[in-house]
């Protein structure tokens, strides 16, 4: 409690200071919309933290220069509670009360759609982690995707899994019955079929479930060669892997869109051995960039929770935004949106860009390496890193 009170005092003091300094320099407010309460709270909290780190770093280094002015950044973040009602309220508050011109991150398909319906009309540029293809494309010229989504990841991951396990011919999938699960499941089915792996079953469960033996029993008795826990969150996936081991099932374990290997390892214990993951880049390991390692450590200390592929997305969005504003030398969201696909910027993964016009019709998908990891000896090991050919070409072009 005392700690909380102390934090509150600190927060208000910082807010006060920020307002004072606002009188001197131009402040550019950047919005965030993520869940900060309920079961997905950890995402929104980590997301906000990473964005604030990025803003702090930029402010320390002298802010963003455009239009002959110097802008310092301020992050405004609200809880969208993972539903459309609150998402719409957050959108109104950000866009109409705080008059934010850029939203550097939004989590959750339903609240993102609520945000998008306002931001596109008001000419506000947003970044989103929403995985569904429905939030992307030519209808949404001001919406950029700030993380790798299943469409980028799954073919790489599954291809690698099948190559390593040539005898695996069947798969059973499990997804939470929510927007993320529903969007990803379709893509995943296609991907498996392309590789001639037969999908024996694709089951659903409700988020918030705590007892997983029934689910594990079902999966084990189908006797698939591969169990793909797909978008099942790490806590739940860990519990299921643990139960699968008790039941004596042995096979290839995939958590294709699980974002946090540390949670998975913690919960599943030794049952996690050998699991392949598609979105669980190891921000602690040797393959991680120094920035990622530093951020990860900081987040762990501040929130008791390391960063993951989603939460680090807000850092990358802030960095991309900085580069684009400086490129177009303006803060008009529409012009910034035109500049974004043309730049190469320094993301937490290293140099990155926006592209994937072939897939979505517009070049608004973040291009960063897809990283396949596998858990070996209780640790995440990067087993394959694929730099998208498009990014590769852009980097080469930029060098010239």
């Amino acid at each position: 409690m005392i700690k909380t009170a102390g934090k509150l005092v600190a927060i208000s003091a910082i807010a006060g200071l920020a307002m004072m300094s606002a009188a001197q320099a131009e402040v550019l407010k950047l919005g965030l919309s993520g869940p900060k309460s309920g079961a997905a709270a950890a995402w929104g909290i980590g997301f906000e933290w990473a964005a604030k780190q990025a803003a702090e770093k930029i402010n320390k280094e002298g802010g963003i220069k455009a239009n002959g002015k110097t802008y310092t950044l301020e992050i405004v973040s609200y809880d969208n509670q993972y539903n459309a009602t609150e998402g719409a309220k957050v959108a109104q508050t950000l866009l109409n009360r705080d008059e934010v011109k850029f939203v550097v991150g939004s989590i959750g398909t339903a609240p993102v759609k609520a945000l998008q319906s306002l931001s596109e009309r008001k000419g506000v540029l947003i970044f989103t982690t929403a995985w569904g293809p429905s939030a992307k494309g030519p209808n949404f010229p001001l919406t950029f995707t700030q993380i790798n989504t299943p469409a980028e990841v799954l073919d790489q991951l599954y291809g690698y899994v099948v190559k390593q396990n040539p005898n695996a011919k069947t798969v059973a999938m499990l997804n939470p019955n929510d927007a993320t699960g529903q969007d990803t499941e379709k893509v995943a089915q296609e991907s498996w079929k392309k590789l001639n792996v037969k999908v024996l079953a694709s089951d659903w469960y409700e988020r918030g479930t705590t007892e997983f033996q029934p689910i594990a029993t079902k999966l084990a008795t189908i006797k698939p060669d591969i169990i793909d826990l797909s978008t099942t969150p790490p806590n739940d996936a860990g519990a299921i892997l643990k139960e699968l081991k008790v039941l004596g099932w042995k096979g290839v374990q995939v958590v294709s869109a699980g974002t946090s290997s540390s949670s998975l390892i913690k919960v599943a214990g030794d049952a996690v051995e050998g699991t392949y993951m598609g979105l669980a880049a190891d921000f602690d390991g040797p393959a991680a960039t120094p920035i990622q390692r530093e951020l990860n450590k900081g987040a762990n200390a501040a929130n008791g929770d390391p960063l993951n592929v989603i939460t680090i997305g807000s850092w990358d969005a802030v960095m991309a935004l900085k580069a684009a504003i400086e490129k177009c030398n303006c803060t008009d969201p529409k012009k910034v949106a035109e500049a974004l696909p043309t730049i190469v910027f320094e993301s937490s993964y290293g140099p990155a860009a926006f592209g994937a016009k072939d897939v979505y019709g517009t070049p608004q998908q973040l291009l960063v390496p897809t990283i396949v990891t596998q858990i070996k000896g209780g640790k995440v090991v990067e087993v394959q890193r694929v730099v998208p050919p498009e990014l590769d070409a852009r980097l080469k072009a930029a060098k010239k």
């Binding site: 409690m1 700690k3 909380t4 309460s37 309920g38 079961a39 709270a41 950890a42 995402w43 909290i45 980590g46 019955n177 089951d203 659903w204 469960y205 409700e206 918030g208 479930t209 705590t210 007892e211 033996q213 029934p214 689910i215 029993t217 079902k218 084990a220 008795t221 790490p234 806590n235 860990g238 519990a239 008790v246 039941l247 004596g248 540390s262 949670s263 913690k266 919960v267 214990g269 929130n303 008791g304 929770d305 390391p306």
Partner: protein, 294 residues
């Protein structure tokens, strides 16, 4: 692996903790005539306490797993009782037998406690080391030894509660109050004191369930919510305020979850649970073991 046996074993191991949790909820309803939405928060509090206390004891005392677990269990339940006392004194005491008033107070506590837990413990899952390692094999069904142990402990507590309610003076007072508060007061039973004891026993049961669940699941700040919803279904089906009803209901729900998840899928089984409640209430509003309201 024999499937039917496995599904039955699953039912029993899930059901044991459900029963414990629901017993607390149904007891509180019986005595105080309130629907306590904050019940899940006591469960969560115990699990979170375990996640702090178990590693601490293991390090400080250097004991083996079982005594550490036993000691931590007691501490966690005490923490929950203290929390329960605070919640009672600063909330429910003024809304005894007021269904709507107490409901809203309990919601206030859900929001407050959930926010505090997140603030204090963060969003990452917490884990405590297993109580005892290994997997037992019962007629071809697999179950971990620690689940088995916890099953037995939960059943022991259930029987203890049964004994308390059936045989002791306090139990008599609890039953009398649940049956007819005014008549019980005429008999010289101090209602407020009995209500407090009933509430604390209920909290203690939620705490015990949470402490038992701690080594079995990922400990998160919101883990109580799922149990709460299941427990509501259980006590509706069993009959509000009925102890045998909560026990029977707990196993029925566990069975539906276990068999339903297998033969359909988990998401469908969840809907089936709610539909069952509605249908059940229509056929027999007072629940399986409940008495008709007269």
């Amino acid at each position: 692996m024999d499937l039917t046996v496995q599904l039955i074993v699953n039912t029993l191991q899930i059901g044991a903790v459900y029963v414990l949790f629901s017993l607390g909820l149904t007891l509180i309803f019986g005595v105080m005539k309130i629907v306590n939405f904050a019940h899940g928060e006591f469960f969560t509090a115990a699990a979170l306490a375990m996640s702090v206390v178990v590693p601490w004891f293991a390090k400080a005392l250097g004991l083996s797993a079982i005594p550490v677990f036993a000691l931590s269990f007691c501490v966690s339940v005490l923490v929950v009782l203290a929390l329960g006392l605070v919640v009672y004194k600063f909330g429910f005491e003024r809304y005894l037998r007021d269904l709507i008033g107490s409901f809203i107070v309990s919601i206030g506590f859900v929001l407050l406690l959930e926010g505090l837990y997140l603030e204090i413990f963060g969003g990452a899952p917490r884990i405590i080391p297993p109580l005892i390692p290994g997997v037992a094999n019962i007629l071809g069904a697999a179950i971990t030894w620690q689940r088995l142990l916890i099953c037995f402990l939960a059943l022991a507590i259930t029987f203890g509660l049964y004994f308390l309610v059936a045989r002791t003076k306090l139990g008599l007072a609890l039953r009398a109050v649940a049956e007819d508060q005014e008549a019980a007061m005429l008999q010289g039973i101090k209602y407020r004191r009995v209500a407090l004891y009933g509430f604390l026993i209920g909290c203690g049961l939620a705490g015990a369930a949470g402490a038992f669940m701690a080594p079995l699941a990922a400990i998160t700040t919101f883990m109580g919510a799922d149990f709460l919803i299941k427990a509501f279904i259980i006590i509706i089906i069993g009959g509000l305020g009925s102890i045998p009803g909560a026990i029977l209901g707990g196993f029925i729900i566990a069975a539906i979850e276990s068999f339903g998840s297998y033969y359909f899928d988990s998401s469908t089984a969840t809907i089936a649970l709610f539909v069952l409640v509605i249908v059940g209430l229509l056929v027999r509003p007072q629940g399986i073991m409940g008495h008709a309201e007269r």
